[in-house]
Point group: C2
Chain length 203, copies 2
């Protein structure tokens, strides 16, 4: 529809997730108008990410080095491993400032519909990390922080069965009411979980 290179860019942009044809056209025309340096910086960033960002050898978080920032940090508690589905989950957990252990990124969740089984995830590598090693402290607890949906729950269930014979404490993040939420608007499953996980109040 447009001059060759412009239509090619629109087509490339429309392939990105969450960007429809209208949005792709808008972005392409925007790029056409910005100073060349700005557009080239974006293009350069894309190339840089492909060249430089890889997965941490130990935990499979994204990293620009062989080991990610958490695995490199000797001040973190290596006896705790928190298992998440994707790297952005780590960012969410770090924001709480409550966790000081290490991570393990599965790179997805078990989903029979999408044909993703445990062997597509980094489960073998997790088991490998849990093996006692001569010069490393033993892992005492594994926190299963997969998403509270069907795939995440299935993955947590699978992992808890896999890990329980190892004599490691396996925990799961609490489900319940979101803080700041309104009881009236809570869905019945969340409310059921909140009831089930109720805790004694002292004071």
């Amino acid at each position: 529809m447009f001059a060759g290179p412009l239509q090619e860019l629109i087509d490339e942009l429309a392939r990105l997730p969450g960007i429809g044809p209208k949005s792709a056209q808008r972005v392409a025309f925007y790029l056409l108008k910005v100073p060349p340096a700005d557009a080239k910086r974006l293009a350069h960033s894309i190339v840089e990410v492909k060249d430089k960002v890889r997965l941490c050898r130990l935990c499979f978080n994204v990293s620009d080095q062989e080991l990610c920032e958490y695995c490199r940090d000797s001040r973190r508690d290596a006896s705790l491993i928190c298992v998440v589905q994707e790297p952005p989950d780590i960012v969410a957990l770090e924001r709480t400032r409550e966790y000081r252990g290490l991570y393990h990124v599965l790179q997805g969740a078990i989903s029979p519909i999408e044909g993703i089984g445990p062997e597509e995830l980094r489960t073998a590598e997790l088991l490998e990390r849990l093996k006692p090693a001569p010069h490393a402290p033993p892992v005492i607890e594994v926190i299963l922080a997969t998403n509270p949906n069907i795939e995440g729950e299935a993955t947590a269930m699978y992992l808890s069965r896999l890990l329980s014979p190892l004599g490691i404490i396996v925990t799961r993040l609490a489900s319940g009411l979101p803080v700041g939420g309104d009881l009236e608007y809570a869905d019945e499953v969340t409310l059921g979980r909140a009831l089930e996980g109720r805790r004694r109040v002292t004071g």
Copy 2:
């Protein structure tokens, strides 16, 4: 939050129109996963657009040549010029398959709020095109196809005053009910225009 190059890409993507931080993160992780050739093709497209796409010397449509495809096409009726705000408007008009004249892209509309006056638009160049030239057919009609909103109407009003002394027929696209629409849901301004522009039905 993420490894250097990844965060840089997320920041660059979040600067694009219509792409928020969440969406930028999603696109960045998607690019991290696609084959390197796919990501590099997108980066290359961005650079290509900046290098190769320019504005048509005559009508200011986007083009990868000095003259755009419409201005180059000798089969089109050069006595008709349709004035639009932006290049995508041409695509919309071409889809009707009803128009065979040339175009003129203003590159915007008059908007006092945004500080866009007639001198920011390609109005001087339009006047230049309308001057009688020895080896070209005279322009008989100018169709004002600016958007049916305040800015577009103001621009059409301004241009009609500018062009009327030139002895050229100046027309405006009809406003009225969208085809396939529902009378009940038409806004009062559109319905008012539809009444005002009513046409005799014969048959």
